[in-house]
Amino acid sequence: MEHRGSSEKPSSENTPHEPGRNVGRRRFLGYLVAAPTLAVAAQLGDSATAPSAASAVIPSAPEQQEIYDLNDLLTLAAKPTSNLIAVVINSDGTASFDMPRAESGQGVTTMAAMLIAEELDLPLDKINVTLADARPELLFNQFTGASNTTIAMYEPIRTAAAIAREQLLGAAAVRFSVTVDRLSVRGGVVYAPDGRTTRYGELAVRAASRRTREVDVTLKDSSEFTVIGTPRNRIDARDAVTGRKTFAMDRGVPDALPTMICRPPTIKGAPRSFANADEVRQMPGVTHVAQLATGIAVRAKTFGQCIDAVNALDVTWNPGTVDTESDDTVLAKLREAEADFGLAPGGEVIEGDFVFHFRNNAALEPNTAVADVRPDRAEIWAPLQAPILCKEQVAEQLGLPLDAVTVHVEQAGGAFGRRMFNDVVLEATEASRKMGRPVKLMWHRTDECRQGRTHPMCTSRIRATYSGDNVLSFEQLHTSVATDYTQGFGEIITAKAGQLPPNGMSNEENFAKPVFNATVNVPYHFGKVSHALEETYTYDTFPTGSVRNLVNPDVRTAQELIVDQLAATMGKDPYEFRREFIDDDRLRAVLDTVAKEGDWGREMAPGTAQGITVHKEYKGATACLIEIDCRDETVNREIRAAVTGPRVTKAIMAVDAGLAINPRGLEAQMQGGIMDGIAQALTSSLHLRDGVLLEGSWDDYFYTRLWNAPFETRVIVMPPTTGEPGGAGELGVPAAMAAVACAYARATGTVPTTFPINHGTLSFTPKPTVPPLPPSPTNGLEFTY
């Protein structure tokens, strides 16, 4: 069945499909690339969709996020650049795609394979997706962040695959001496009307182009999709469950021995000198010791020996950037920076003031980079969200031309924003250069906690006014420790704006505030709505970054707590109130779905309660219903060496991603978002005391564990609405965090004002800072089970 027009005649299809753009009728441009087998390229970048309007109560003027959200910015930044990505058909009948994005568990390689499978009519297991090396010619389009990958890749990948299919069919038509429209394809096999068959593999050379030229194509109409929109398992799942999936630290680069760094006792301290280099060099397994900008690096036969050597080093440190700062001094500084509320239009006032503490953005796989620096070249292997920037930074550091630096992007063991920053790579290249040997540099977990990047501490204050049954105004003033935008993320925004800030001086004005305004919104008709960001400190005072979303988990949690209070004051049910004021039909649909599926309003025992919230971002809509148990017997349940506290017993999330390319992958992302939301609302934070983050590993940084995870977690993926895929990676966190907070408030009768709610109690003894690393225990065999 041939369902697409060839490049010469216009498509005869004009059946409209889902709301939104009819992709079936548009023609997409791609390139046949001169190559030994068929290779088709397409340009990265996609188009914007207009949000739909809604009507109710007192309408709020559209906010910036609705007109022009962060993804539009990111996508537009890419427009004028020449960003080609290519699908190659191999002689063995497989297709290959070298993806210029990071795979950190968010499932983008599976998504890419599905898009190719769809347009190429090739089974999913015949498609190999690898991660592309840094490609500077992609300019701003090899950056993974803000859940943008699917949005940006949706059309280009399909375009390349669709052209490839046409070329293969064209070659088959010649071979069988029939016209293309008489051929059919199933699973990579082309059938002629008389029963003759040929495979893509046999056509790959024949269909190859001898010169590079432009062609265009129409894409499948969504009504014809057989892969897109169907739940599929991850293409790398088998490797993951067999231990074959390799990460940077599993990479067997010859002679790249384990390397670790002895780091300063306080944030951003630096080594002044160290006394016992020779002694440490003599320690078992140790091969090299070298002073770096950030600490003293030790290279040894095993990481275990690196740990021992790091702890044996006698280092004199220069002070760090925040040696006199603690939670309370930072809070005082935030209070000073807070802006005043504007004039409210009268009516009754409801106010809220919330504090969100520092939290860590570390993934389970610690920062790792393999570096092999030679006098005339360097080669890097690392999981990177911004590989081009990495390549540029390495070239600059080593004084090498750009093309003398090769940067391989590894699969990441989680990212959450951490791998936008190339700190570990620059340390690895410095160590390799100084030691004259390849190194496999890994951060110890304790380094991640204490010297890693944190989500900036912030306050969020809200003043809402209402009169009778109407909300008249809703103003939110968010005040945050400055976020570092000098890498990756910032570069794109800057490119769009065309204004590189000198030395990051305009970090706040040119990055933080525009991003805040592009990502924040109040999804309710609350009359006069406004929100603003103030930052304090400079962007490089604290090492900061995003943690699976930047501002919205906190901003929306503050908002939804006030929404519940407005509802309560007006004597309305939290669900009914939201339903009435919500400003978006898609949002109302997901809200209704969780209310129904989660049996909203069911009778709950005292000390337990439900919470319900919504969130829209990344061209998607979510709603979350949480049930929490805050009864004493639950809160105080004992688990050895663990924080327990209130338990979320049930989580229901409904998600409308516009078009879920892989509903199963989307479900996974939402589940992960729920676990982050629980952690951030209840248990997960860093305590700052005199320039030291007290948390030092997973036993005191309380990310959600099985004993705090809900017994029931259910995600409902809505049918396609806009027909356009939205982002997923970070989408689930805000509604989940907010719903946990709202449920907690309803269960306990106390509105939490500090997050996570257990931050006030330090429930562990901090590990020492000197020596910097906790030694590995030796009693592991006492805990076998």
Binding site: P258, P284, T302, L364, G413, A668, M675, A709, S776
Partner: protein, 158 residues
């Protein structure tokens, strides 16, 4: 420095290394067995979970000197062989439920799950939510909901 000898995934190995090096590094950095992952080095993240004589343990916190000649270490790579199949039923359940996200914690999760099911059976019951709550392995991607389901499914086929 002496030579340490024991069995890993059914094969006898001989490793010449200092006696106090933790087994995780012997497996990963010396023997090149990279299924067990590093996440903390202090027995709290459980990413390195493997089996010793059929029981779950964390090699980051065991010195190689404490492994005896007859001890059998099983890492995720050797798990299928313990049931003489391409995949252990727990791995099948993991695939069935599409548990992994980044996958980094998953070798440890599966090894922990298998041991937990056996432990429950040794105590005379099938694995329950309360048993699952005792599993300490961190998944920073938050795959707990699917882990919970997959353990119950995998147990049925074990």
């Amino acid at each position: 420095m002496r030579t340490h000898t024991f069995i890993v995934n059914g094969e006898r190995v001989h490793v010449r290394i200092e006696a106090d090096v933790r087994l995780l590094w012997v497996l990963r950095d010396v023997l090149g067995i990279t299924g067990p992952k590093y996440g903390c080095g202090i027995n709290v993240c459980k990413a390195c979970t493997s089996h010793i004589n059929g029981k779950a343990f964390n090699p980051c916190s065991v010195r190689v000197r404490d492994i005896k000649g007859g001890d059998e270490i099983t890492t995720i790579e050797g798990l299928p062989d313990t049931v003489g199949a391409d995949l252990h039923p727990m791995q099948e359940a993991w695939l069935e439920r599409d548990v992994p996200q980044c996958g980094y914690c998953q070798p440890g999760q599966i090894m922990a799950a298998v041991a937990k099911v056996r432990q429950a059976r040794d105590e005379g019951h099938e694995i329950s939510d309360a048993d699952i709550d005792e599993i300490r392995n961190i998944c920073r991607c938050g795959t707990y909901a699917r882990i919970r389901e997959a353990i119950k499914e995998g147990a049925k086929k074990m």
